[in-house]
């Protein structure tokens, strides 16, 4: 797993309650056990960690998005930032 993937999985695991099982990359974001405010908090954690802007909004429908999609989006943002640096 990439550093981005590891950090995101860790952040979600820390945030959600313990009764949830292991995260799978194919898990849809609206089914991983985070409410809409926690999704916003997740975006904040990622932004603080990698200094990027994550396009997640509490009004966005994330039902079509999986954990893998999110990781890929953030990896692209981080790569883009690194290429600019």
């Amino acid at each position: 797993m990439s550093e981005v993937a590891e950090e995101i999985v860790k952040a979600i695991t820390d945030m959600r309650s313990k009764e949830h099982g292991a995260l799978k990359l194919s898990d849809p974001l609206d089914k991983i056990g985070l409410n809409s405010l926690q999704v916003v908090e997740l975006a904040f954690v990622i932004e603080e960690k990698f200094n990027v802007e994550v396009p997640l909004n509490a009004n966005l429908d994330v039902s079509g998005m999986t954990l893998a999609d999110l990781i890929q989006t953030v990896e692209k943002l981080v790569a883009h930032k690194t290429s600019l640096a």
């Binding site: 409410n35 809409s36 405010l37 916003v40 975006a43 904040f44 997640l56 909004n57 509490a58 009004n59 429908d61």
Partner: protein, 404 residues
Amino acid sequence: MNRVVVTGLGVVSPVGQSVRDYWTALTEGRSGLSPPTLESTAQLNTKLVGQVKDFDATKHFEPQRIGLLDRVSQFAVVAARQALVQSGLSLSGALAERTAAIIGTGSGGHTTVDEGFHRLYAERATRLHPLSIPRAMVSAAASQVSMYCDIKGPSYAISSACASATHAIGQAFHMVRADTVTCAVCGGTEASITYGAMKGWEAMRIMAPDACRPFSRDRKGMVIGEGAAVLVLETLDHATERGAEILAEIVGFGMSADSKDLTAPDPNGMARAINTALADACMTPEMIDYVNAHGTGTVANDEAETQALHLSFDGHARRLAVSSTKSIVGHALGAAGALEFVAVVMALRDGIVPPTINYLGPDPACDLDYVPNNARRMEIRAALSNSFAFGGLNAVVAARKFTG
């Protein structure tokens, strides 16, 4: 118990600084939202706010006294003066002692706090202006209204985030009805479009980038507004005795707490406040023709509020006219409930329901009549004004057309 009537209204809003200008914009469906004008706009991602434009404090206050009032207090005093002028009340002697000032606000003197912190943390100043605390305190607006309007009865602030003004109006209604006071000057004020507060709102990621379109498909969130609205309430007997024009009658007030979540709304909590207001007014759901919704434009609120209206009104829900004033002026937080209740009073008086603008088409989860885009002329016997705050604090006022 006294019957309670409204005899005066005052408004400072993004669409005008008088009731006439405000009501004209609402009925024409003319938006007051625009890009923010703040000193540090470059650092803001916020695309749209409902700011009060061209508010000139020097027109309303003596230069040597302006420094005593944060923008939030200035708005409140200007709106209170307008309301008292319309009511024709002259507050002196025993009546001043029998008049209350109850003013809701979510965050009080936020401009003073924001500027003070900028001075300390960014400019490395070592001292603040000596009036920082009395200008910023949440109760400052209530104090200033009491002083500028010669009110000597019970006066204080009510703070329940986005329901502050509605709780204040309800509290004032209770006091006049119970004969604790004869008159009450009540409402809400907010002026927190500051760099610090907007950054806080941005972090919540619930702000619309394009327009505030409550209950519509493709709605993308709320837009922060500011302003103040103040109403004069008095006993029916007092108003009749002095020959005052009666604008509407307040008949019920309901409150509840979701007791669930700091941000997510709960239709059951909302419905309990609506039901309590109806019961307090001794009204059946079928007697209500119009609901001025909380209608923030977020996905969650509008869906939950629609469910709440179904729960409370059952089959009558689809016959209600429901509209959101926030589509036009944004969400003025602690002032919102009073701005919206002024719209309800004018709607009852004129027989016009103001529209929900920016409506693109139905969302399957929002299946009521939201009076899309154009005002509607119709007979309104009675109406509700809904306020459902973050933290699950709900308040609903019921009013009816005054028919004697």
